[in-house]
C-alpha cells in the first residue's frame, strides 16, 4: 500500500517494502546495543509541558498529536531537551506528516542551538492505546532523520492516575532474514531536570494559594523572604520529626532502627563543632560585613533620592 498526501506531506510505504535506511554517519547510534534494557531515555520537563500544550491546542477532530524530539545521544543515554510540534493527519490507514514543516522548524531551531539534533518523536495516546499501526509508519519516517529514533508516548487519556510517559525503541522483526514488521520495545524513561527547572516547578507548586494545587490555581513568583521562610519551616519540621522519633525510641514506644539512628547521628555530626569564641568571632565578622554593606546601600539610595529631588 502506498499513501499519497498533499504537497509537502510525506508518502509513507508499508514497512515490508522499505528495507533500506539512510544512515546519518557522524551521529552516535543506539543500534550497537543488543539489549534494549541498556538504553535509558532522560526527559526534561519542558518537553512534557510542550507535548501537553500541543495536545491542548490540537485541531478539531484530531485524536492525537505528534512532534519531533531534539536532544543528544551519549553512549546509551538519550537526553531529550527540546521538542517542537509537527502537524499531521491520520485517517484510518492513511498518515500524512508535514515533512517540510519539520525541516524548516529544524533549521530554525538549529540557528538558536546548534548542539541539538533529532533523537526521536513523540505522540500522545490514540484512544487509550499507546502504539498503533500508524505509529510504525511515522516511525519509519523518523528513521530517515536519525539513527534508531526514540518514540515517546505521553498518556493523555487520563485513564490511569498519572500522566505517564513511556519510551519505545523499534526493531524489525525478521523471519528467515526478511523484515516483516516492526516491534516496539519499551525502554526506561527518567525525568531529568536542571536545577533551574526544578526551582521553577517547585515555585509552580508552592506558589499557589495555600500550597495546594488546584486546576485553576495561579502561582505567584514570590519574594525571597517568603521562600526563605518556607525553607526554614521545612527544616524545622524535619528536625522536629527526627527529634520526636528519637524521643519515642528512648521512651520505648517505637522499636529503634539502627540504620536510622546512625543516619541521625551522622547528620548531627555534620554541624561543625567549634570553640564558642571562634564561632562568635566568625559570626560577628559576618554580621558586621552584612551590616556595613547594608549601610552602604542605604546610603547610596538616600543619595539617589536626594539627587532626584534636586532635579538633576
Amino acid at each position: 500500500m502506498s499513501f499519497s498526501g498533499a504537497d509537502g506531506a510525506l508518502i509513507l510505504n508499508d514497512p515490508a517494502t522499505q528495507l533500506s535506511r539512510t544512515g546519518d554517519a557522524p551521529a552516535p547510534t543506539l543500534t550497537g546495543y543488543a539489549s534494549t534494557n541498556d538504553i535509558v531515555v532522560k526527559v526534561h520537563p519542558v518537553v512534557l509541558f510542550s507535548v501537553l500544550d500541543h495536545y491542548l491546542r490540537r485541531p478539531e477532530g484530531q485524536v492525537r498529536v505528534i512532534g519531533t524530539l531534539l536532544g543528544k545521544v551519549n553512549a546509551n543515554v538519550v537526553e531529550v531537551t527540546n521538542s517542537f510540534a509537527v502537524p499531521h493527519q491520520e485517517k484510518n490507514d492513511e498518515v500524512a506528516v508535514g515533512k517540510d514543516f519539520n525541516k524548516q522548524m529544524l533549521a530554525l531551531s538549529g540557528l538558536v542551538n546548534g548542539q541539538e539534533r533529532i533523537v526521536g518523536w513523540y505522540a500522545t495516546t490514540f484512544d487509550g492505546a499507546q502504539v498503533v499501526d500508524n505509529s510504525s509508519l511515522i516511525h519509519e519516517f523518523f528513521t530517515t532523520e536519525c539513527e534508531s529514533p526514540v518514540h515517546i508516548v505521553v498518556d493523555t487519556s487520563l485513564a490511569s492516575d498519572t500522566i505517564g510517559c513511556r519510551a519505545y525503541i523499534s526493531s524489525p522483526l525478521e523471519i528467515a532474514g526478511e523484515a516483516l514488521a516492526n516491534v516496539f520495545h519499551q525502554v526506561q524513561v527518567q525525568l531529568e531536570s536542571s536545577e533551574a527547572e526544578r526551582i521553577c516547578i517547585d515555585r509552580m507548586v508552592k506558589g499557589q494559594a495555600g500550597g495546594v494545587l488546584t486546576p485553576d490555581g495561579i502561582a505567584s513568583v514570590d519574594s525571597e523572604a517568603v521562600s526563605l521562610e518556607s525553607s526554614m519551616t521545612r527544616l524545622l519540621a524535619m528536625l522536629e520529626a527526627a527529634s520526636a522519633f528519637v524521643d519515642k525510641v528512648v521512651a520505648g514506644e517505637v522499636p529503634g532502627d539502627a540504620q536510622v539512628g546512625r543516619k541521625i547521628a551522622d547528620t548531627l555530626a555534620v554541624v561543625p563543632r567549634m570553640r564558642p569564641e571562634a564561632f562568635a568571632k566568625m559570626f560577628d565578622g559576618n554580621l558586621q560585613d552584612l551590616l556595613m554593606v547594608s549601610y552602604l546601600s542605604s546610603l547610596t539610595r538616600t543619595q539617589l533620592a536626594i539627587a532626584e529631588k534636586l532635579a538633576i
Binding site: 500544550d53 538549529g110 538558536v112 548542539q115 536545577e195 533551574a196 539617589l304 538633576i312
Partner: protein, 347 residues
C-alpha cells in the same frame, strides 16, 4: 484606568486606547522555555520573543521562543552551528525580524497563539538597565501595543534557589518624553513600571505538575535547602563591584552636566549682552523711523545638552542594585542567626 488617559497625541489617534495591564500571567511552558534557553546560553546573554494574548487587566503569555544571537560566527559555545550543519541554508542569513516572522508562521500552523506580546532577555545579577533595552522596549511599545512587556530572567540568581523573573514596561510619562525628545525631568524611579508575574498552567499541565511533585519529592527538597546556603561573600562582592562601576559612570555623567551648565551660563551671559546691544540698536532705529530688527534671534551656537537618558538609566540601575543588596542582606541575617542558633544548641 482608561479614564486616566488624556487626549492621545495626533499621530497615535488611530490606535484605540487600551486599558493598561496590571499583571502578567505566564504559562509554565513559556517560563520553562525561557529558563532553558537562558541557562544553555550562559555565560552569554540572550533574548527571545513572547507570544500570547492581552485581555483586560492581565497579559497572558502562553508561549515563547528564542531568537538567534547576533554574533553567531564568533560563538564557539553552545550556540555555534556545530551539531546541525546547515550553513548553506538561506535561513542562516535571516535577520532577527525575519526569523521571528518565520517562527510565528510555523507556530501558527500548530495553533499556537500567533500574537507577539513582548520579548524576554536574560540579565546578569540584576543588571538590565541599558540603552538597548530601553530602545527595544520603546519600539515594542510604540509599534505593538502599550501593553508590550519585557520579561527579565536572571539565571545566576535563580541558581541560588530563588526564581528571579521580572516584567517591566516603560511608564507612559517616559514614553511621552522619549517620543517627543523632550528633556523633561523624570524621576529615575518612574521610568519603568514593574508588573507582578504569576505562573499559571492549563488543567492538564497542572495534573502533570502534581505528578512531578509526587514523583520527584526529593527534587523540591533540594530547592528548599539550597536557599539556606551560607556563603554570602561572593555574591556580595560581585554586587558591590557592579555597584562601584555604575556609580563611577554616574559620577562621569554628573561631571558632564556640570561642564554643560557652565557653558550654558556663559552662553546666556553672551546672549544677554547681545540682546542689550540689539535693543539699543532698535531704539536708535525707532528714533530714526526705521523698522526695528527682530530682537529675539535664536543663537545657533547652543551647546548640546548631554543626554539625560544615560544618567536616568544609571540611577535606575543603581537603585535596583541597592534593593537587591538590601533584600539579600536581610535574608543573610536570618540565615546567619539560624546557623548561630544551631551552634548554640550543639554546644
Amino acid at each position: 484606568m482608561s479614564g486616566a488617559w488624556g487626549a492621545p497625541a495626533p499621530e497615535r489617534a488611530a490606535m484605540k486606547e487600551l486599558p493598561l495591564i496590571k499583571e502578567v500571567h505566564m504559562d509554565g511552558l513559556a517560563v520553562l522555555k525561557i529558563i532553558k534557553h537562558c541557562t544553555e546560553a550562559l555565560p552569554g546573554m540572550v533574548a527571545g520573543s513572547l507570544l500570547g494574548l492581552d485581555q483586560s487587566a492581565t497579559l497572558e503569555v502562553t508561549h515563547s521562543f528564542p531568537l538567534p544571537s547576533a554574533k553567531k560566527e564568533a560563538d564557539t559555545g553552545g550556540e555555534g552551528g556545530v551539531g546541525l550543519a546547515r550553513p548553506a541554508d538561506e535561513l542562516s542569513n535571516l535577520s532577527g525580524q525575519d526569523y521571528q516572522m518565520e517562527m510565528m508562521k510555523m507556530l501558527r500552523e500548530v495553533n499556537v497563539d500567533n500574537n507577539c506580546v513582548g520579548w524576554y532577555q536574560s540579565m546578569y545579577l540584576g543588571s538590565f538597565c541599558t540603552q538597548t533595552l530601553v530602545d527595544n522596549q520603546y519600539t515594542y511599545q510604540e509599534n505593538l501595543s502599550d501593553n508590550a512587556v519585557v520579561v527579565l530572567y536572571d539565571p545566576v540568581q535563580t541558581a541560588r534557589g530563588q526564581l528571579t523573573l521580572k516584567a517591566y514596561r516603560l511608564s507612559k510619562e517616559f514614553m511621552r518624553a522619549y517620543r517627543e525628545r523632550k528633556s523633561d525631568h523624570i524621576k529615575p524611579s518612574e521610568i519603568l513600571d514593574e508588573l507582578p508575574i504569576r505562573i499559571r498552567n492549563p488543567g492538564l499541565v497542572n495534573a502533570l505538575v502534581y505528578d512531578l511533585q509526587g514523583r520527584g519529592g526529593a527534587g523540591s527538597a533540594e530547592c528548599d535547602f539550597e536557599r539556606l546556603d551560607l556563603s554570602t561573600n561572593p555574591y556580595l562582592e560581585k554586587n558591590l563591584e557592579f555597584l562601584c562601576g555604575w556609580v563611577d559612570d554616574l559620577a562621569n555623567e554628573q561631571w558632564k552636566f556640570q561642564a554643560y551648565t557652565r557653558t550654558l551660563l556663559k552662553q546666556r551671559h553672551d546672549a544677554a549682552r547681545w540682546a542689550d546691544r540689539r535693543k539699543k540698536a532698535n531704539d536708535e532705529r525707532r528714533a530714526a523711523g526705521d523698522e526695528p530688527l527682530p530682537d529675539d534671534e535664536a543663537h545657533d551656537r547652543r551647546p548640546d545638552a548631554p543626554n539625560r537618558m544615560e544618567s536616568l538609566l544609571i540611577s535606575t540601575q543603581i537603585s535596583a542594585y541597592c534593593s537587591q543588596i538590601n533584600r539579600f542582606t536581610g535574608s543573610s541575617f536570618e540565615k546567619l542567626f539560624l546557623a548561630g542558633s544551631l551552634q548554640r544548641e550543639a554546644t
